[in-house]
Every structure is written in structure tokens, then in C-alpha cells.
């Protein structure tokens, strides 16, 4: 009977103690009365529970299904705990067999009682683990139980289990940080490759022991290593430096990751600057998205005018996209001194899910080499560039249209000349403001920052700042200003369109109307600018003052126009 009991405690069912379907042991009722007194019968109950737990843990530990690195080590730890308990039982059994001690049910109970709580906790842990997707977050579950049990022996056991998991995480980190390799056959790590072959962080998988910012640094270091080893640019020194990672205890890993990041940021900086990739990409963007090479787009606009005037059905979209792309390539090859491979990184497209003419929907795409595309010229960034591009493209196209009228000045009457002059002035000086006061100035600020830094990540923030400021100073986020620009472009288009159609009758009437519309627009523009000026301070004030100065240099658009409309009213 005692042996049966010990057998049951080690998790094995026998004749006396049988295992029910729910995994709990029960004493066989037929032989339930074999000389056990009432108190012994009471004691049997917790012993049955222990046996059940041991059986449960055993079953868990011996499950050979491989689907997780973390589960694997947890199983090993739990198997070890179970084995320790079973060894304890073995000692008791030997004692009994040798007759050196007379242990009844009560004696056995009192001997193994200290283990009860641990086994109980372990069972709860395994229950919790079984409910989870196996990945590195299992560590958080273990940590939770460790921090909430309050019994030192149990804390120590949980800590051991936690430590073995930490070793797995450490291995994964080292593999990533050191070789840029994901040691992660079961997708448990917080970094993975996404559909478009980019390494990304899965925020839900970051364990408590790492902060989000640290995780980002980890991502950055690994990505850098990938880039650097692709470029075969890792030196002995780098290896040695990162080799330290393997040896250091996990507690110090944060500091080491930071050091790695610095090292990598420097190395990556060298990578992108030494081979001139960064400058090249920046220049490409400056020349195209920000239209610094104006001749490319003068030609491009000329070549694509008829296409971009159109509104597209989905079918037309495809055909036109091809034509646009061809013409962009022609323009670039004609006017940009760059290698063909570099030029072919650019493409032009029409946004399918927006209404309106091509001019409102056209956008450029630029395929940059890793790591620039992932780390700097991200989709969001390129979207902002495209918004500025569309504004500049439209400003440029209207100026070209207006210039087209100029040769016929001699046959035009003064009110027509006046409107042309006024529109041209505003368009030119708005463009001048954007190109020189905003883009060129911000570019020089960024250049200075880049010049001082040797750090990829710092460059990243310098560039981010560059674009944020340009977007702000071109009023990209002020709908009223954007609407005003649009109206101005529309007004100029109407004016130019009149000449394209060659209908000379009604010209003076239209021009008088447009002149009034122009005055109204100027009033609106200046009241918007003055309003913003009054609400702003310091650095946000300056650009508005600059635009006001450019547009109203001789005070005509404010005072002169006002005086003129007063005169007109007087005459009426």
C-alpha cells in the first residue's frame, strides 16, 4: 500500500490509485478501506493532488512536440523539478525498505509536504503557458509568477526557469546583433522579416526586460550588421567589439546594446557616406522631388501636359502610367547627369483613389538602396516629399504657361498685361520663397549638421527635421493656405486657357473679372499670412515675414492694390 502510494506520488497510476479522465488520481473505492483510519483518509487527499500535479508536469515535460525554443527549455526545467521530487520519493522508499524508518501515510505526508506548494505553482504556470502562443513573452508569464508567489524557495525555482529562457533570448539577441541572423525557427523573437523583406519589430513580442527604444536599437544594430556584411565592410575590430556581447551577463546587455548602436551608427554612416550613397540619394531627391533641376521638369511638363490634363478611368490609368514613366525617363536622361541605373530608381505614377486631373494626383517613387529606404526615405517621408513636389510642379507649369503668352505681349491690352504681370509676380516670388528661403536654407542647415556628425542615426533625425520644417514652411498643414495656392493656380490657368482657345471675344470682360478675383485672392492671402504672423512667435514667425517681404516688396499688393480699388470705386 505504501509503495502504491509512493508510485502514485511519482505520477504513476497503479491498482490502488487510478487516474481519472480529468487527469486527477483517485483511490480505488473497492479497496478504499484497507486499514486506513479516518485521519489518514483525509491526508490521502492532498497526496492525491500532488500525484496528479506530478503526472501533469511529467506529461508536459515529456511532450516531445518541438514548436518553441522557449517551451523547450521550460520543459527541461520542469522535468528537472519533477525529477528532484521523484528522487526525494526514492530516498523515502529506500528508507522504508531498509526499515530504517517506519513511515505511515502521515509520515510520508509530512516528509513531502514542503514540495506541495511548488508543484502546485508549477502546475498553475504550465496551465498559463499552455494558454499562450509560445514565444519570448513566456518570460513575462514566468516573471509574473515569480514576483507574486512570495515564497523564497519557489521564487528561486521560477528564477531558474526564467534564467534559462533569458539564455534563449540572449542567444537570439547575440545572433541578431552579431551576425544579423534571426535564430528563430518558430517565430518567437520580436524582430522578424515582413512580406517585403524588411526587418521589422513586432511590438507585441517585446518582453518586459527590454524597452521599446532598446528594441529599436537592437533592430538598428542588426540591420546595420546586415548592411555592413553585405558590403563586406565589417572589420576585425568590429567583430572583437561585438564578440564581447557573447560573454557579458544579460544584466549588462542594455549598456552593450547602446555601445553597439553607437559603433554601428558610425560604421553605417561611413558605409552610406564613403560610397557616397547618401549624398547621391539626397541630391536625387533634391533635384527631382524638390525640383532643383528645373530644366528636367520644364521638359517633363512640356512632354506630359496632355496626359496630366486628363482625368483617368482605371483602364486609362495603366496606359498613361506607362507613357508618363517613359517621358520621365526621357527627361531625366536628357537633363540629369546621372548613371542610368540611378535614374531608373525613379518612377512616376498617378494616385488611383483620388479624384481630379493628373496634376493633383501625380507622384514620384524612388527606390533607394538599403538601409536608406527603410531607415530614412520611408513611405511616409516620401509622401510628404510628393506633396511638396505637386505644389512645385503646379507652380512651375503655370509659370511656363504664362511665359508662353509673353511673346504675344505686343498685341495685348494693358489690363491683360497687368494681370499677367501680377500673376507672374506672385508665382515667381512664392516659388522663390519656397526654393531659396525654405528649401535652400534648410538644406544648408542640414548640410551643416551632417558635416558635424558621423552618426547615421543623427543624420536620420537631421533629415527628418529638414523635411518637417519644409513641410511647415510651405504651409502644407494649413488647408486655407493650400486652398489659396490652388485658387491662384486655377486663376492663372483660366487666364492662360483663354489664349490657348484662341477665342478673343469677351477677353476684356473675362480679364476684368479675373483682375477682381486676383485682388480678392491677394486680400485673402495677406490676411491669412498676417493672421498667422500675429499668432506665431520666434522661429515660426520668420518664414511668414520672409514670404510677406518677397511678395510685397514694394508694398503694391497691399497698399497699391487697395488704392487702386478705391480709385475704381471712386470712378463709379
Amino acid at each position: 500500500m505504501i509503495r502504491e502510494l509512493l508510485f502514485m506520488l511519482s505520477g504513476q497510476p497503479g491498482a490502488l490509485f487510478v487516474k481519472k479522465d480529468n487527469g486527477q488520481f483517485e483511490m480505488c473505492s473497492a479497496i478504499a478501506d484497507v486499514g486506513l483510519c479516518q485521519s489518514e483518509k483525509e491526508i490521502i487527499k492532498p497526496l492525491l493532488k500532488i500525484g496528479s500535479n506530478v503526472a501533469f508536469l511529467n506529461e508536459f515535460a515529456e511532450d516531445r512536440k518541438m514548436n518553441s525554443l522557449y517551451l523547450e527549455v521550460i520543459k527541461q526545467s520542469i522535468a528537472k523539478c519533477v525529477t528532484e521530487f521523484q528522487e526525494e520519493l526514492l530516498v523515502i522508499e529506500v528508507e522504508i525498505l531498509e526499515g530504517s524508518s517506519m513511515l505511515g501515510v502521515t509520515g510520508i505526508h509530512s516528509k513531502i509536504m514542503p514540495h506541495t506548494l511548488l508543484l502546485e505553482y508549477l502546475k498553475e504556470l504550465v496551465d498559463a503557458i499552455k494558454l499562450q502562443e509560445p514565444n519570448c513573452l513566456l518570460m513575462d508569464t514566468i516573471q509574473h509568477y515569480r514576483d507574486h508567489c512570495g515564497v523564497s524557495k519557489i521564487i528561486a525555482t521560477f528564477q531558474q526557469i526564467y534564467n534559462v529562457c533569458l539564455k534563449v533570448l540572449h542567444k537570439q539577441l547575440v545572433s541578431w546583433l552579431l551576425f544579423g541572423k534571426l535564430l528563430d525557427p518558430y517565430n518567437e523573437f520580436f524582430i522578424h522579416l515582413d512580406g517585403s523583406k524588411n526587418f521589422v519589430i513586432n511590438g507585441e513580442k517585446i518582453p518586459n526586460c527590454l524597452s521599446v527604444s532598446l528594441a529599436q536599437q537592437v533592430l538598428f544594430v542588426g540591420e546595420s550588421v546586415v548592411a555592413l556584411s553585405e558590403a563586406q565592410d565589417l572589420s576585425e575590430e568590429d567583430w572583437e567589439f561585438m564578440g564581447k556581447l557573447r560573454k557579458i551577463p544579460f544584466e549588462n546587455i542594455v549598456e552593450i546594446i547602446r555601445q553597439c548602436r553607437d559603433q554601428m551608427a558610425r560604421r553605417l554612416w561611413n558605409l552610406v557616406t564613403e560610397k557616397d550613397r547618401l549624398n547621391r540619394s539626397l541630391n536625387m531627391i533634391l533635384n527631382t522631388f524638390l525640383m532643383k533641376k528645373g530644366d528636367i521638369f520644364a521638359y517633363f511638363i512640356h512632354q506630359t501636359e496632355s496626359i496630366l490634363d486628363g482625368q483617368f478611368t482605371p483602364v486609362q490609368l495603366v496606359a498613361n502610367q506607362f507613357a508618363l514613366q517613359q517621358r520621365l525617363m526621357n527627361s531625366l536622361k536628357k537633363y540629369l547627369e546621372e548613371e542610368e541605373a540611378e535614374i531608373e530608381r525613379l518612377s512616376v505614377n498617378i494616385m488611383p483613389d483620388v479624384q481630379g486631373q493628373g496634376w493633383e494626383r501625380v507622384f514620384l517613387e524612388y527606390k533607394t538602396e538599403w538601409p536608406l529606404g527603410v531607415l530614412i526615405f520611408t513611405p511616409d517621408t516620401m509622401q510628404t516629399y510628393n506633396k511638396i513636389f505637386r505644389l512645385l510642379l503646379n507652380l512651375r507649369r503655370i509659370q511656363l504657361n504664362l511665359n508662353g503668352l509673353w511673346k504675344n505681349l505686343v498685341v495685348l491690352d494693358k489690363p491683360v498685361l497687368e494681370l499677367r504681370w501680377n500673376l507672374q509676380h506672385v508665382l515667381i516670388h512664392l516659388s522663390q520663397y519656397i526654393q531659396i528661403d525654405v528649401i535652400e536654407v534648410q538644406k544648408s542647415i542640414m548640410d551643416r549638421q551632417i558635416d558635424q556628425c558621423q552618426d547615421f542615426d543623427k543624420f536620420r533625425s537631421a533629415h527628418a527635421n529638414f523635411l518637417v520644417v519644409i513641410a511647415a514652411q510651405t504651409f502644407l498643414h494649413v488647408p486655407a493656405m493650400q486652398a489659396c495656392f490652388k485658387d491662384l493656380i486655377h486663376l492663372a490657368l483660366k487666364f492662360c486657357g483663354f489664349f490657348a482657345n484662341d477665342r478673343k471675344e469677351g477677353l476684356m470682360l473675362l480679364v476684368a473679372e479675373l483682375n477682381l478675383e486676383f485682388e480678392r485672392l491677394m486680400q485673402l492671402l495677406f490676411s491669412l499670412l498676417n493672421g498667422m504672423y500675429q499668432q506665431s512667435s520666434g522661429t515660426t514667425m520668420e518664414p511668414i515675414a520672409q514670404l510677406l517681404l518677397r511678395l510685397d516688396f514694394n508694398y503694391y499688393l497691399t497698399e497699391g492694390l487697395q488704392a487702386k480699388s478705391n480709385r475704381t470705386i471712386g470712378e463709379i
Binding site: G294, Y335, L400, L409, K414, W421, L549, R550, Y556
Partner: protein
């Protein structure tokens, strides 16, 4: 759209400044005197095709037509190291080589006789270009060939190529010294009429001012033609910098001139250039800043036109374009504009918006200069009319005395009457009047119903 420009060099003066211009362009683009791209210049980001085309053997050849009625200057060019630069078929020397005898009428009637031969060359050159935007004419308005033949060519080109821009670099005579060409005022006035009616944009290069600059600023006691022409070629090359080193804007000729010229007649531009230094005394002491450059460009002593001092202070700028070349801190641009406005350094028209446009352009990497930043101003200023008024005065003096008219009467145009002279006088008077009107706030309603203005404009559109 980025463009191509054909340069027509007429007469002695036109060919001399043209010669200096091409020398300068070759140096800036790294093209040898024989049209071969230098080894150091193969990686250039400049646009050479505005002014050059490439022959089958890759040689760069100027889009230039050289015309003269007497051989001296063209022979000098053909005996220089640059002899092989030009397309020999584009050089036209009148066969009898007698010249126009400093007579506008003679130059003009030579044009009529040589029409076929000259336009064979020009038409071939135009057809050979892919995207011709403009003709640029270099000439002087005072002699015989540049003025007379030049006038004839302006009329024909504006008829024959109505869609192409016609720009001129026109050298005005030095009024500070007495000229040996006594009929200079006649020649000038007759040419000015064509510059008013048949050109889209005239860059005025005033020999009076050029000589003053050479003596006062460059400390040359008696400036030579070559020294003066080198000043001119500096102006010409700088004014085309944005075409040859394209950036955001102004990368075609129309984009340069349209923002400067509000109404058809007000198309006479003055230029200013800085730093004008012969030696390096000034520049080596301190850095040239953008503000220095932009401020100096507004000072009369740097202007290449000598206008009569404006006693009423009513003359004003219609527009300004500053082309700044070199290493520039862009934040300085706005500060300079601000300073110029605060200190009222430039007076602008009262009848429309006006401002200073700034184009930032590269410097040629192949030409070393002692200064980091240099600036060219192209400006439309109403005081340029004082130059025309002076020509009118001198014309009137001669005309009243009927002096030196005999040689004109020999030419077909003046055989029956001198109406052409008087008509030209009317056109220039009306031009002066229009510039004066442009200083007032009611300019836009000026001359709306004047029959003279209408007749003159209908003449050009016919």
C-alpha cells in the same frame, strides 16, 4: 523648355564681343580653342547644348553666325587659336569687302542685297537645332554694319521666325569722347527704332559706362577694346549662367526675360556686375558676402549704363533679377532683401508689384576667380530712357542743320524722302514718353487710346 540659342555677330564690334564671349564660354565649359572637350571637363554637370552643338566627330561647335562687310575683325578671329572653333560655313564676309562706311543706310541696303546668302546660313542653323528658342544678336548701334545690317536682320528675323525670341546685346557709343563717326546719332536712332519694334529684349551695353568703369574701377588709364570687350563678355556669360548651369528657375531665355519685361516696349535692360576688380587688392582682404554683392549691384557706379542723374528722383526699377554665382549662404539672401528694403536702396514702380528676384547659379569649376561670390544684375529701370533722350538730342542737332545727310540720300530708303528718319524719331520719342509714364502710378492707363502707339504696334504684328 530648355532651349537653344543662335548667336548672330554683326560688324566689327559684334564680332569682337562675340569672339570674347565664345572664348569665355569655352573656358567655362572646359572646351578647347579647337572645340574639343578637355579631359578635366568630361564629368561636367553644365549644359553645353544651349550655345554649342556637337559635330559628328564630337567637336563642340558654337551656334554662331559671323557676319561682316569688311574683313579685318573676322580675319583676326581666323588667325587666332580659335579659328577652328567655328563652323566655317557660318562665317560670311561680304565679297567686295568695302564695309558699310559707317553708314546705317549702306548697311541696311547691303542686307537687302545679301538676304539670300545670309538667310541660307541662318535657316540652316535654325533647322539644325532641335529646340531653337532664340536668336541673340551682338552688334553696335553706332557704326554701319552692326546698326544698318543689324536693323535689316532684326526686321527679317522677327518676320521669318515670329515665335522665336529675339534678344540683342547692343553696344551704345561712348558719348564722353568725340567720335570719328559723325553720323553716329543718325545710325543710333535708326537702329533704336528696330530695337524698339523688332526685338523682344535688348541688353544695353553702354560704351560710356564701360569706359568709365574701366578707368575708375579697374584703374586702366586708356582702356583697350580687348579690355572693354572682356567686361562685355563677363556680362554676357554671367547673364546666361542660369541657362548653362540650370537650377530651380530661369533655365530658359523666356524664363529670364519674361519676369523682367512687363509691357512690350519696356524691354531695354541694364546690367551691373560685381566685384569688378582687376587686381585682387580688395577681395583678398575680406570675404565677399551676398549682402555686399546685392548692395553693390544697386550702386550706379557698377552699372554698365550711364544714365543722366535723376534730379526729381522719380525714376524707378520695374524689375530686378540678380544672378548670384559662387558659394552662397542662402540665409543671407533674405537678410539682404530685408536690408535693401529697410534702407530704401531701390525705388520700384508704383503701378504694379515688383521685387528683386534672385537666381543662385554655379560658377564654372574650370575658371579660377579670386572672389567666392560674384553677382550680375539684369534690371529694367526707367532711367534708361535718358540714354535715348540723349540720342534724340544729338539727332535733333544734326537733323536741324541737315548735316551729313548726303551719304544717306544715296541709299534707296532715303532717296525720295527722309521720312524714315522722322518716323524713327517719333518711335523713340514715344519710347522715352512711355518710360517716363512708367514712373507714375497711372502708367497702365497711359497711351491706351493713342493712335501712334497702335499704329506702331500693328506694324510689328503685320
Amino acid at each position: 523648355m530648355p532651349s537653344e540659342v543662335i548667336t548672330l555677330q554683326l560688324g566689327q564690334c559684334g564680332n569682337q564681343i562675340g569672339f570674347e564671349f565664345w572664348k569665355k564660354l569655352c573656358a567655362e565649359h572646359g572646351i578647347s580653342s579647337e572645340g574639343v572637350l578637355e579631359d578635366f571637363a568630361t564629368e561636367g554637370v553644365d549644359r553645353k547644348d544651349v550655345f554649342f552643338y556637337q559635330a559628328d566627330d564630337e567637336h563642340y561647335i558654337p551656334r554662331a553666325v559671323l557676319l561682316d562687310l569688311e574683313p579685318r575683325v573676322i580675319n583676326t578671329i581666323m588667325n587666332s587659336p580659335y579659328a577652328k572653333l567655328y563652323n566655317p560655313e557660318n562665317i560670311y564676309l561680304s565679297k567686295h569687302g568695302g564695309g558699310a562706311g559707317n553708314n546705317w543706310g549702306s548697311g541696311y541696303s547691303h542686307g537687302e542685297r545679301l538676304f539670300d546668302e545670309i538667310f541660307d546660313i541662318i535657316d540652316r542653323e535654325a533647322e539644325g537645332s532641335e529646340n531653337l528658342e532664340a536668336f541673340t544678336l551682338c552688334h553696335s548701334i553706332a557704326g554701319g554694319t552692326g546698326s544698318g545690317l543689324g536693323s535689316y536682320m532684326l526686321e527679317r528675323i522677327s518676320e521669318r521666325y515670329p515665335k522665336k525670341l529675339v534678344q540683342t546685346y547692343s553696344v551704345f557709343p561712348n558719348l564722353a569722347e568725340s567720335s570719328d563717326v559723325v553720323v553716329q546719332p543718325y545710325n543710333s536712332l535708326l537702329t533704336l527704332k528696330r530695337l524698339t519694334l523688332n526685338a523682344d529684349c535688348v541688353v544695353v551695353l553702354d560704351n560710356t559706362a564701360l569706359n568709365r568703369i574701366a578707368t575708375d574701377r579697374l584703374h586702366i588709364e586708356t582702356p583697350s577694346f580687348t579690355q572693354i570687350n572682356s567686361l562685355v563678355s563677363t556680362i554676357m556669360s554671367a547673364s546666361t549662367a542660369t541657362l548653362r548651369y540650370p537650377s530651380y528657375m530661369n533655365n530658359d531665355l523666356i524664363g529670364l526675360v519674361a519676369p523682367l519685361i512687363p509691357t512690350p516696349r519696356l524691354h531695354f535692360l541694364m546690367t551691373g556686375y560685381t566685384p569688378l576688380t582687376n587686381d585682387h587688392e580688395e577681395t583678398s582682404v575680406r570675404k565677399t558676402t551676398v549682402l555686399d554683392v546685392m548692395r553693390r549691384l544697386l550702386q550706379p557706379q557698377n552699372m554698365m549704363v550711364s544714365t543722366t542723374p535723376d534730379r526729381n528722383g522719380s525714376h524707378c526699377y520695374t524689375s530686378i533679377l540678380n544672378i548670384i554665382q559662387g558659394e552662397v549662404d542662402p540665409t543671407q539672401i533674405h537678410k539682404s532683401l530685408q536690408r535693401i528694403r529697410e534702407r530704401k536702396l531701390a525705388q520700384f514702380i508704383p503701378w504694379g508689384p515688383a521685387s528683386i528676384q534672385v537666381a543662385l547659379s554655379r560658377k564654372s569649376p574650370y575658371v579660377t576667380t579670386s572672389h567666392r561670390v560674384s553677382g550680375l544684375m539684369l534690371a529694367n529701370h526707367t532711367s534708361i530712357s535718358t540714354l535715348f533722350a540723349r540720342t534724340l538730342q544729338q539727332f535733333d542737332k544734326l537733323r536741324k542743320r541737315e548735316a551729313f545727310l548726303d551719304q544717306f540720300r544715296k541709299e534707296a530708303m532715303f532717296q525720295d524722302s527722309l521720312d524714315e528718319m522722322d518716323d524713327s524719331r517719333d518711335v523713340i520719342q514715344s519710347l522715352v514718353d512711355e518710360y517716363t509714364a512708367a514712373t507714375k502710378s497711372d502708367y497702365l492707363s497711359w497711351g491706351m487710346n493713342r493712335p501712334g502707339a497702335l499704329a506702331a504696334s500693328s506694324q510689328t504684328t503685320a
